[in-house]
């Protein structure tokens, strides 16, 4: 009986349950739930992308041709909320769900039922949020940051706040699960400083999530009570302070943007050593740099608020702290380059996306450094320069890393190889058009075009048209991505080997492709030379 209890006796079979409903809706299996997360995030990626297409179509030329300004604002707001909370974050959770137990030699996540709950909350949260677009009064239109007093004018505030509460609960449960898994379920010999960088990046990200999601929940709850229960946290007519909301929001918001990039760092740190056939350079420095960036993320929030009229001392503190982030981030970029140096490189699709990530994310980092300089930020703030900056770090950063991860692990997940030719077509289309899309936005911002406007002076027309063309083509390119995934999952005839990639290192590659229902039923023996970063004794 004791032996029986030690196993998860509700699900102790080693094959997937047969019924569709039982397998996907009642699943407690980390791989199935990971798949659900990834499908959900891909769906949201296309929904959020279609909102972006509306935005770019309206901005194609001066004058309003397609939508009313209020609907345009709904589109910018929903695009951000869907992409951040629906596409990027669930994609990372899905990747973590799939890969973390396999990378640390565990059979499953530590808390499988909570895993199921944390996923199944999400579709309801997004149904609730997206339904506002079809309700009288329309969806939220005050920006994803929901600054009061503007957001208090919205009739759909209660829906959005409740949806955010649900997403927050889901994220917190996901984070608890990941921490519990990593700290408790590692195979013997998988010391903390032997874990793959991806696992490290998720461990740190999970702590960030637990620290800041409640802060967001608090901020939006205060919005709710200000609107419906007569409080005046942020309402100046009752003595409240609208700027207080921005401080609370960005105390969440800045760690949030690192929640969306740290797992990307982890992915790229797995992909580059594999295709360079050389251990990651400076493993410990990479781990410490992630921890350092995570710490700094808590003390830089007001750099989003340099235009609200902060005291001089606050401006200076937040400027210096923000600039400091360039140091650990620079270390990471240099280490990726040093990993490639002296390697034996091949350029399969995951490697192409990882290399594009390093270059284009660094460009986003450069504009980030420029934005940190407060006097210059007085010009850049709330212009298209900022839009260009965060799309370089979130699209060519986070989204490209997710694409790299998909191509990298898809053969392991499905047991079949994807089509390399179409993967490369997807890459080259994406990398060209994403630059056509976002690079001209730097110029628009510098010339003085504010963000979140549905129409503009004719001086901004040329670069907007170029940007829109890039946007349509980038959007269309993602249909190739969908095609490659569907082909690989259902139609590919080419079997994947267990190791998949010649240079792949780590426990996940010792399992079959596709892996067994319960990843490791007996703890694997960890050989140091089999890990992606080789010996880390020095």
């Amino acid at each position: 009986m004791a032996h029986e209890a030690a196993h998860d006796h509700h699900d102790d079979h080693h094959h997937a349950p047969q019924g569709f409903f039982q397998r996907w809706v009642m699943s407690t299996n980390h791989k199935d739930i990971g798949t659900l997360y990834l499908i959900f995030s891909l769906t949201m990626f296309f929904i959020g992308g279609s909102f972006a297409m509306v935005i770019r179509a309206e901005l194609f030329k001066p004058g309003l041709q397609l939508v009313q300004p209020y609907f345009f604002n709904e589109m910018t707001t929903m695009h951000a909320l869907v992409m951040i909370f629906g596409a990027i974050m669930p994609a990372f959770v899905g990747l973590g769900n799939w890969m973390i137990p396999m990378m640390i030699g565990a059979p499953d996540m530590a808390l499988p039922r909570m895993n199921n709950l944390s996923f199944w909350i999400l579709p309801f949260a997004f149904l609730l949020m997206l339904s506002t677009l079809f309700l009288p009064g329309g969806g939220p239109a005050g920006g994803w940051t929901m600054y009061p007093p503007l957001s208090l004018q919205s009739g759909s505030l209660a829906y959005v706040v409740f949806a955010i509460h649900l997403m927050g609960i889901s994220s917190i449960m996901g984070a608890i699960n990941i921490i519990a898994t990593i700290l408790n379920m590692r195979a013997p010999g998988m010391d903390l400083l032997k874990m793959p960088v991806f696992v490290w990046s998720w461990l740190i990200t999970a702590f960030l999530l637990i620290a800041v999601m409640p802060v967001l929940a608090g901020a939006v709850t205060m919005l709710l009570t200000d609107k419906y229960f007569g409080t005046s946290f942020f309402n100046p007519h009752g003595g409240g302070d609208p700027v207080l909301y921005q401080h609370v929001f960005w105390f969440f918001g800045h760690p949030e943007v690192y929640i969306m990039i740290l797992p990307a760092f982890g992915i790229v740190s797995e992909v580059i050593p594999t295709f360079a056939r050389k251990p990651i350079f400076g493993y410990r420095a990479m781990v410490y740099a992630i921890a350092c960036i995570a710490f700094l993320s808590f003390i830089v929030w007001a750099h989003h608020m340099f235009a609200v009229g902060l005291p001089l001392g606050a401006d200076i503190f937040f400027m210096y702290a923000t600039m400091l982030i360039a140091v650990p981030t620079g270390v990471k970029v240099f280490n990726w380059v040093a990993t490639m140096w002296g390697g034996s490189m091949t350029f399969e699709t995951p490697m192409l996306f990882a290399i594009a990530f390093v270059i284009l994310f660094t460009i986003g980092g450069f504009s980030g450094l420029m934005l940190a300089l407060v006097p210059a930020d007085f010009q850049y703030h709330d212009t298209y320069f900022v839009v260009a900056h965060f799309h370089y770090v979130l699209v060519t950063g986070a989204a490209f890393a997710i694409m790299a991860a998909t191509y990298y692990w898809l053969p392991k997940w499905t047991g079949h190889m994807y089509n390399e030719f179409w993967g490369k077509v997807h890459f080259w289309c994406s990398v060209v058009f994403v630059n056509v899309l976002f690079f001209p936005q730097h110029f628009l911002g510098l010339a003085g075009m504010p963000r979140r406007i549905p129409d503009y002076n004719v001086a901004f027309a040329n670069f907007n048209m170029i940007s829109s063309i890039g946007g349509f083509l980038f959007g269309a390119s993602q249909l190739i991505f969908l095609g490659v995934i569907v082909h690989c999952a259902f139609f590919s005839k080419k079997k994947a080997t267990d190791r998949v990639w010649e240079g792949a290192r780590g426990l996940e590659w010792t399992l079959s492709s596709p892996p067994p229902h319960h990843s490791f039923t007996v703890p694997p023996v960890v050989h140091d030379e089999e890990l992606a970063h080789g010996h880390v004794n020095d």
Binding site: L64, V67, N73, G330, F334, M345, F443, N457, V458, N462
Partner: protein, 311 residues
């Protein structure tokens, strides 16, 4: 085709303007960089922008150059064999230290600009700016140490832009012009009139939601927040018309509340201000006669015949 022709004409104009060293109105088509601005302070963001961009370009060339060399030299198809090393303390110290030094220099330079911006003392004039959904209000508070009496007005999008910008208006944004300049969505019914060579303090607030007052030629923007009064200053060097926009999302017509500043000489400004004070002095027509004595006492300059005859 008209668009392409316009684009060619515009880029030719830019090249000519650059060759001739002429200042041209901003924003202009194909504009690539931030403008220098026209005030005593606006060079600060411009200089920092160019410096930081230069630093980034140099680092980018070095890092991406190293990457491309690595991608060329260490490819398996060229017979490269992977080396085993994964650590080098010396280079790690070097590439941690050098960025720190660069950042210290940048931080030092930005701090200077920030401190000078924060100093609103010694101003010769105060203007109160209030944001509304979706227009601005300007109130002249004092000028050269004397309070200004009842000079204040709303400033909103000009009628032609407003008509053109309606969905399916069928009107051409390229036809919205003031002189030779296209002013679609960048023109107002009544601009803010300011004197040049005068340190002007702005006190900025809002009546409803958060707005942001931004004239790129001044080099800064600052939020207009209900319940809070922000301050900023400028000292304009060159007379001219400068255009900007609200920079903080403030609702459906956020994109349609531009800012226009008309900077004039101090003499012209004194005349204009006096005319405004004169015109606005009588609180009501019936009370005009009885109120004439105190009202004229405040108005220093002779009366001007027409009220609001600008813009």
């Amino acid at each position: 085709m008209a668009g392409i022709r316009r684009a060619i004409a515009a880029s030719t104009a830019i090249v000519l303007a650059l060759c001739a060293g002429l200042a041209q109105a901003d924003p202009h088509p194909w504009q690539l960089n931030m403008q220098r601005g026209v005030t005593t302070w606006s060079g600060e963001p411009y200089f920092l922008n160019n410096l930081a961009l230069g630093v980034c370009v140099v680092i980018g060339v070095l890092v991406f150059g190293a990457m491309f060399i690595a991608m060329f030299r260490f490819r398996k198809s060229r017979g490269a064999v992977a080396e085993k090393w994964s650590h080098n303390t010396t280079v790690e110290i070097i590439w941690t230290t050098i960025p720190v030094i660069i950042l210290v220099v940048l931080a030092w330079m930005s701090t200077g600009g920030l401190v000078s911006f924060a100093n609103t003392t010694g101003s010769q004039m105060t203007v109160k700016v209030t944001g509304y959904q979706w227009k601005w209000r300007y109130d002249y508070v004092d000028y050269l140490g004397k309070p200004v009496s009842k000079v204040g007005y709303m400033s909103k999008l000009d009628a032609l832009s407003d008509k053109t910008r309606q969905l399916d208006s069928g009107m051409d944004p390229y036809a919205v012009k003031t002189g030779d300049e296209n002013t679609y969505l960048l023109n107002v019914d009544k601009p803010l009139v300011l004197p040049i060579h005068t340190k002007i303090r702005f006190v900025i607030t809002s009546d409803d939601v958060i707005h942001s007052w931004w004239v790129p030629s001044f080099g800064w923007k600052i939020d207009a927040i209900p319940g809070i009064v922000n301050t900023a200053w400028t000292n304009i060097n060159v007379a001219g018309t400068y255009r900007g926009q609200c920079a903080e999302l403030c609702g459906q017509d956020h994109g349609f509340m531009p800012i226009v500043v008309k900077a004039v000489s101090q003499e012209d400004f004194a005349k204009w201000l006096a005319a405004q004070e004169q015109a606005n002095a009588p609180a009501a027509p019936a009370a005009a006669a009885s109120a004439a004595a105190p009202a004229t006492a405040q108005a220093a300059a002779p009366a001007a015949p027409a009220a609001g005859g600008h813009g």
